[in-house]
Symmetry: C2
Subunit: 426 residues, 2 copies
């Protein structure tokens, strides 16, 4: 049956539509932190951040069904729902964040952010890291993992993803390393200024998730934001993965310590209902709205509002921020405690319920071992725990469960992890 479905899928969607795992899972149902396949087998979902308040969360499903049965229309009529959501969202940031442009995906929201920065500055150039991902459109997809070579586009420049585990220069102490990365950032800005694009914005995932969730030199982002502003640019925090309590804080920029001018959110906002946002000062938002007359058919709808409010209700009622901090903190500590026992665990890092386990050939060489990371994810899947491999080198086991992940789930996972490790070390 699975083989038949796979063949139909290859025809209907075209081969190449991505699937997880050596033997793809045929998932038919979800509940909280669990996913169930067509044979009724239960998996602990340790990958999915979109269903942040749990798969099939009843409050969200009820709100969505009720709103769809009441009104779901575009935003050129007045409706209180989306105003309430915008007010609630901006209140979760500092006073510089006042107004919101809603859209349907992180891609669309990052497009809005970059265009907003361009209108505000009159410049076109954007600086991002060399191993980032901000979406799949022509504009933001062009930033995907550009590598150390400078891109062919004059409006983009990259700097190396800052990190302590594989630093650009291993001979430096952390302060000097921070300065080395800042120099690379300055160089990227200077390149845009020199080539005529000018410098409009620095955009970063505030916790460098796709880069591999690195520990970054202390103070790097605060200094980077200063440098960007001094050069006349704006600072865009892509919080699509980092935000919404993922790290145990509301926002990733709290973890890495900077104040963004523009904040982009997406994935978890609607627990699966397409919903994303670009939030900034009212002046920045209006400076974008005036020339573009931006309108997005499915965005700012009563449906998005209902889903978005229900998600925030559950996060706050159940203190999922606190849960992410506690359960994630304990899980990270437990994995770090295992690190000395296995030569293939190079590093354990992350915050809250977003943890990366860097897999290497051996601790001494730190040689990335992507194949082993893939193997571990497949072994854990067979034991009923869903993770994936990620990071710029593909060798980081990515742990990013729904925020309702419990201490009991973590204990069960550690048992499976230990059993898997024993297999590998046998």
């Amino acid at each position: 049956m699975t083989a038949d479905l796979l063949a139909r899928r290859n025809q209907a969607l075209g081969a190449g539509a991505a699937l997880f795992y050596e033997a793809p899972l045929h998932i038919v149902r979800g509940e909280g932190v669990y996913l169930f396949d067509a044979e009724g087998r239960r998996y602990v979902d340790m990958y999915n951040n979109v269903p942040c308040v749990g798969h099939a969360n009843p409050e969200v499903a009820e709100a969505v069904g009720r709103q769809q049965a009441t009104l779901n229309v575009h935003s050129r009529y007045l409706h209180e729902g989306i105003v309430n959501l915008a007010e609630r969202l901006t209140a979760l940031h500092g006073p510089q964040i006042e107004s919101v442009v809603f859209s349907c995906s992180g891609t669309e929201a990052n497009e809005v952010a970059i265009r907003m920065a361009r209108f505000a500055t009159g410049k076109r150039g954007v600086v991002c890291t060399d191993a980032t991902y901000h979406g799949n459109s022509e504009l933001v997809g062009g930033m995907t993992r550009l590598g150390s070579e400078q891109p062919g586009r004059a409006d983009l420049a990259t700097f190396p993803s800052p990190e302590l585990y594989r630093p650009v220069d291993g001979n430096l102490d952390e302060d000097a390393l921070c300065e080395a990365y800042l120099d690379r950032l300055r160089t990227a800005i200077a390149r845009l200024e020199a080539n005529g694009a000018g410098f409009a914005a620095l955009i970063v995932c505030s916790i460098f998730a796709n880069e591999g969730l690195p520990d970054v030199p202390v103070g790097f982002m605060a200094r980077a934001a200063e440098i960007a502003r001094a050069a006349g640019g704006l600072v865009i925090a892509d919080e699509v993965q980092a935000g919404y309590c993922r790290t145990g804080s509301w926002w990733g920029y709290e973890v890495t310590g900077f104040t963004p001018d523009i904040v982009v959110t997406g994935k978890p906002m609607g627990n699966g209902i397409p919903l994303a946002a670009t939030a900034a000062s009212r002046a920045l938002v209006e400076g974008f709205r005036a020339p573009t007359r931006y309108f997005n058919t499915f965005a700012s709808s009563p449906l998005q509002a209902a889903a978005g409010m229900a998600v925030l209700d559950v996060i706050e009622r159940d203190d999922l921020r606190g849960n992410a901090a506690r359960v994630g903190g304990d899980l990270k500590a437990a994995l770090q405690a295992r690190q000395p026992q296995h030569d293939w665990i190079g590093d354990v890092r992350g915050q809250g319920l977003f943890i990366g386990v860097e897999i290497v050939r051996d601790k001494a060489s730190r040689t990335p071992d992507r194949d082993r990371a893939v193997d571990i994810a497949n072994r854990l899947m067979r034991r009923g725990f869903l993770t994936s491999n990620a990071g710029m080198l593909g060798n980081v086991v990515k742990i990013r469960p729904p925020l309702v992940f419990s201490q009991a789930n973590a204990a069960a996972f550690l048992e499976a992890f230990d059993a898997t490790a024993a297999e590998l070390d046998a």
Copy 2:
């Protein structure tokens, strides 16, 4: 209360977020073809194409609520729902359409279409009309109403929107006029070939909706598609507005008579659930998937599938295609019958439940009268009927109700139209 909500909205979304009508409507509920404001006043919705099977359609709401309460997850697990939807969608086209890339908005789907054409041809240049709209991203937003001036971008070239009411040359008969527009298309293609971009695709809304829903010279689109293919390009039909039975046919390309290589659909597909698609041959789709490894978090989800299938179920069960053809055809005839009585009705055109009434100073001059079109939409709104003004000159009263619009609704509208016309003629 409305004033207070408006002030809050201007802060929360930024002033400039578009609203309809001189006095914006505060809509709180929908049902079928009706919308209700906060005071309980009922309006006949003659504008919205997204809720194609009716506002708050119970079958769609039930399917959406049930799926959200069962499973709503990304597409990297096998799930039968989205395969079923893709198979059903491709079966509604000719044999050249085999596979689908799902996304969340017409913008995203048009991006995919253009990038697909670029990969397939190895060229970058795209030809569109000078008064089109295909979405709001950097790539496709750059095509918005470029006017007769050629755009600054080397990868875009325009040709004049073909039409009979304000033709590029009024001295020609229809065949010669067709040839004149085709010459402009050839010139646009040649411009891309000359400037190094090369010619990748011709993209058109298959009924030129944003251009103002013109009657086009007979045979124009079939010849245009031939010319595009002879030049090595692909033909993209943007069916976001034209498709899904809007015209009384399933697809706009049936109305204007051509065979597209790539079909883009969006707005009505999910009755408000963000859902869009780029459909083409399997080879074209796989030629896009391989280099991009395209993944879209919220797309190809069980939720999109459930909403999309429910919409198709209702359209087929209730023969909404037939309804659009019958009710729309009769309504157009009734409006055309009124045309001789009012000097300000320049033209009545369209197909099915997509009708444009072109408002002019007088029949002799054909001078567009945007102000009067706006005035008519506001007067009709006060009488309980929601339309808008549209078209490249803003002077077309746009009639595009949910597909469940009935003969009784049309009769009531004609009464309101006559009363409005009497006011104007008084």
